[in-house]
Symmetry: C2
Subunit: 520 residues, 2 copies
């Protein structure tokens, strides 16, 4: 993420003041300097900024800092400040998640992080998933309501973050926003209805660089927001941001980038080509299906171990609070440990002879007690049993099989095997908690050397941050977007065959997972 | 002014509707079609238009008309309509005069004029000249007040003109505005204070193509206004529009274009080069100095004849009403006839022996009675004498000498003589009333064959109209602006010598005016 100084969005200009011999207009004087320095065809100056320019130039004695984004061959001037005043010039990177929105405030000159905050996407009150929100937006006035929710929250959070960081929102000149296609539409107030209806058409793939005041974002009145483009309805700007952040599009070697979640979004490629696809891996991977599954939070089981030969499930909970549920990474750990200890078989079925009395049957379905707890409500006198059922396991196995099949399909589509990939990037907050050894053990991820797995953390936020550090980042973004070939995942017989083979633990073909050894 | 059909600002597109195999986003689908058809690097779609696009495309079954301007390599989409609805798509050309504002409403598809109107610039209430207005704008809030005056009036007049023409203001998608540099600044709400202070710096020379909603003009919300660029503080967009209208920049032969008024703005050139200058010719030419001088209107003397040998001044008045004053073209006629009839000499002095008892002396200054009238107030029982004084004549001669000297200087600066010019274009409403024979007789304009003089009428409005007929007119405008070399008129000894020589009627060198023959 190192930035060359000359790539900064903030540029200093010392202009020669006008004379009778050189009576170029104020704007033209600045535009000429910008074009000469930054090799661009034209410069766009916001009208309100144009009004202030004569005063700004004269007060600063023609010694100014310009805040600049480049869009195609055009420079966009978002602001001009007096070079001699040492005021922070800030930018804001935004990861516009369906569930959670994360903000990062940056000093655009030093690239220093001034502060970070996050908040639950207020649109959750309409519906936790994007589908419910799109249906809501469809109704009369719904689009404005749901757009207003995110914009209002952003304004509040920007204000708060600025206060904490001792700057004013007016000092924010550039923003970069990465979100999936639907979230981006709702953020922009664009009708998302055609995204979910055949043939699945977004309003726009490349919103470009937009004036914040057109969106109602209260920062500097001239500020612009770079909106990450999408490839289509099911491959959004958050993933383009992830590709930027991972750097796979700059490498000679071929890498893979996977955003693990309800949808598995996958990119395979290198500096010459990129192949992408997205497919439903099933909510089980996020812990959203099992009865005790929940989002990460205090008391949620995030790590599981079973000592070989003991069948005793040892759990770790977040903040080491009494257990209240299990999150996705905990679930993957649990399944891996159950399998390695022989408590479930190669088909993911409980082995009663191994599980012993921890296995119970309710309504004809087997449940394994994972932990006992007083539950969330500590006043409750009764113990709560946290269990995992055969249904939960079956669901997890379908999800992991779908994930592996998607990875295998996209890699094979470019004539490679998974084993040939040099680096395996796991993106997303959830992805960063997955233990690759466990994911390999159940055959969700391929059996690559552990050090080839790299967790990127919040790669959308990372990509958005990078976009604030490079005045011409849009060029790289466009290049990546244009380089992506989108692979439609056809659920044909071949896909189904691969899927069936992947429904075993770790796989019907154990040669694909040489490192996975069941405790014996 | 003939326009090639493919140059129209309104383009039809029949798009292929999306399918699962071709699920390009709505905006990208239209952008791709526009880029392919019109050879441009990028397309700018207004954000509000983007919001409406999905509906528009589907309702029209992907059969749309796009209203497009081109700015540099970028297409600007001002509007999209359903091709199958036969609604007029209109444009508005505006001549933004210091004194008078003229509007012309056009059908952008047929280039047919739908209506015209004009109104006094309401800023006259602040001051008749631009200087007073700039000082007013300097005061706290003054700029907004004076900008609001012109915008409010424009909105009212646009509404009225639309009503008369049976269209709605929402049907206006493109505007083109031509005004001098100061008027353009006041129209845009840009601080004009530095225009009149050394070293005379406009805020911007090339305002470009602006959203009407940014200016508060109430037409279609997506409409754009092309603002003619200026060359500097004293050579404005009205003159660039005049150059476009005259066509001099497309000709092999070298022509001259003169806007005759208080300021003489002159362009000499051809398709390879353009040389421009502006200089004060003095208000006498517009009839603004003489006691009986006034703007053209009913009862104003606009033509004068003196039958050889009679000394009897025969007048013609506008609308043939009783005489109330004299306008600029009448004054030039009068001076020419006085000179040709021997009533004034080569220095412009009254010849008492010829003038006879029509010559009177008031306060030691000679006055010649031109007409007698009941005056404006017809109830007045007394006759009013309309007279021209020696002071008036002296002032007129200084003005005509300045005009001729400017014409001579700019022509000599390119190594030519005035006689070598193929066409002499006279621009401006006032210019269109000047009788070239009279102007030549007093040596204000050079002694060229009468048919080489062409009156352009309102060339600013003509140029603005042309800008609405060509989607890429900005290219020609930029080319012209970049081709212009601006000649600073240095009032040095050589200039003064030429000026002194031109203070005679028609000139100290009669060989320059072979056609001028005093009645004998």
């Amino acid at each position: 993420m190192k930035t060359k100084q000359n790539k900064s969005c903030v540029k200093k200009f010392i202009l020669t003041p006008p004379t009778l011999e050189d009576n170029t207009a104020d704007a033209d004087r600045l535009i000429m300097a910008m074009k000469a320095e930054l090799k661009a065809d034209s410069v766009n100056i916001d009208f309100e900024l144009l009004k202030k320019l004569p005063g700004l130039l004269r007060e600063s004695n023609y010694n100014v800092k310009c805040i600049i984004y480049k869009d195609l061959e055009r420079l966009i001037l978002a602001g001009v400040t007096d070079s001699r005043k040492n005021q922070i010039i800030a930018g804001m990177a935004i990861d516009l998640g369906t569930t959670r929105v994360v903000l990062r405030l940056l000093d655009l000159e030093s690239d220093k992080v001034l502060g970070e905050s996050s908040f639950d996407n207020p649109q959750i009150s309409i519906g936790p998933d994007i589908l419910a929100r799109i249906h809501f937006a469809d109704k009369n006035g719904g689009l404005n309501v749901i757009k207003g929710m995110i914009i209002d929250s952003l304004n509040l959070q920007i204000d708060a973050l600025c206060r904490e960081s001792n700057i004013l929102p007016q000092q924010i000149y550039l923003l970069a926003v990465a979100g999936n296609t639907a979230m981006t539409h709702l953020f922009l107030g664009l009708d998302p209805r055609w995204i979910i209806r055949e043939p699945y058409i977004p309003v726009v793939n490349r919103p470009g660089i937009i004036k914040t005041k057109e969106l109602g974002i209260r920062v500097n009145p001239g500020a612009r927001v770079l909106v990450f483009p999408n490839v289509g309805s099911y491959f959004g700007g958050d993933l383009i941001a992830g590709i930027i952040y991972s750097g796979i599009a700059n490498k000679e070697d071929t890498s893979i980038l996977v955003d693990v979640g309800t949808n598995a979004e996958v990119v395979v490629g290198n500096k010459n080509w990129l192949m992408a696809c997205a497919g439903a891996a099933g909510p089980a991977l996020e812990g959203g299906v099992t009865k005790m599954g929940m989002m990460a939070g205090p008391g949620v089981i995030d790590r599981v171990a079973i000592k070989p030969g003991t069948c005793k499930v040892e759990i770790h909970t977040i903040d080491e609070k009494p257990p209240v549920g299990i999150c996705g990474s905990g679930l993957i750990d649990l399944a891996a440990q159950l399998f390695l200890s022989g408590m479930i078989d190669i088909r993911g079925r409980f082995v009663p002879s191994v599980c012993g009395d921890q296995l119970k049957e309710k309504d004809g379905i087997r449940h394994l007690v994972v932990a006992r707890s007083k539950g969330k409500n500590c006043d409750s006198p009764e113990d709560i049993e946290l269990t995992i059922s055969q249904v939960d396991l079956d669901s997890l196995i379908r999800s992991k099989a779908a994930m592996y099949t998607i990875l295998e399909t996209i890699t094979m589509s470019v004539g490679m095997s998974l084993q040939e990939l040099s680096t395996f990037y796991v993106a997303g907050t959830f992805g960063s908690f997955i233990n690759p050894v466990s994911a390999i053990s159940i055959g969700m991820l391929p059996d690559l050397p552990i050090n080839s797995y790299k967790s990127l953390g919040n790669s959308s936020l990372g990509g958005a941050t990078m976009a604030l550090a490079l005045f011409d980042c849009m060029e790289e973004i466009d290049k990546i977007r244009n380089n992506i070939t989108y692979l439609e995942l056809n659920v044909n017989q071949e896909f189904m065959n691969r899927f069936s083979a992947a429904k075993f633990l770790p796989h019907t073909d154990p040669l694909l997972f040489p490192s996975v050894k069941v405790f014996s």
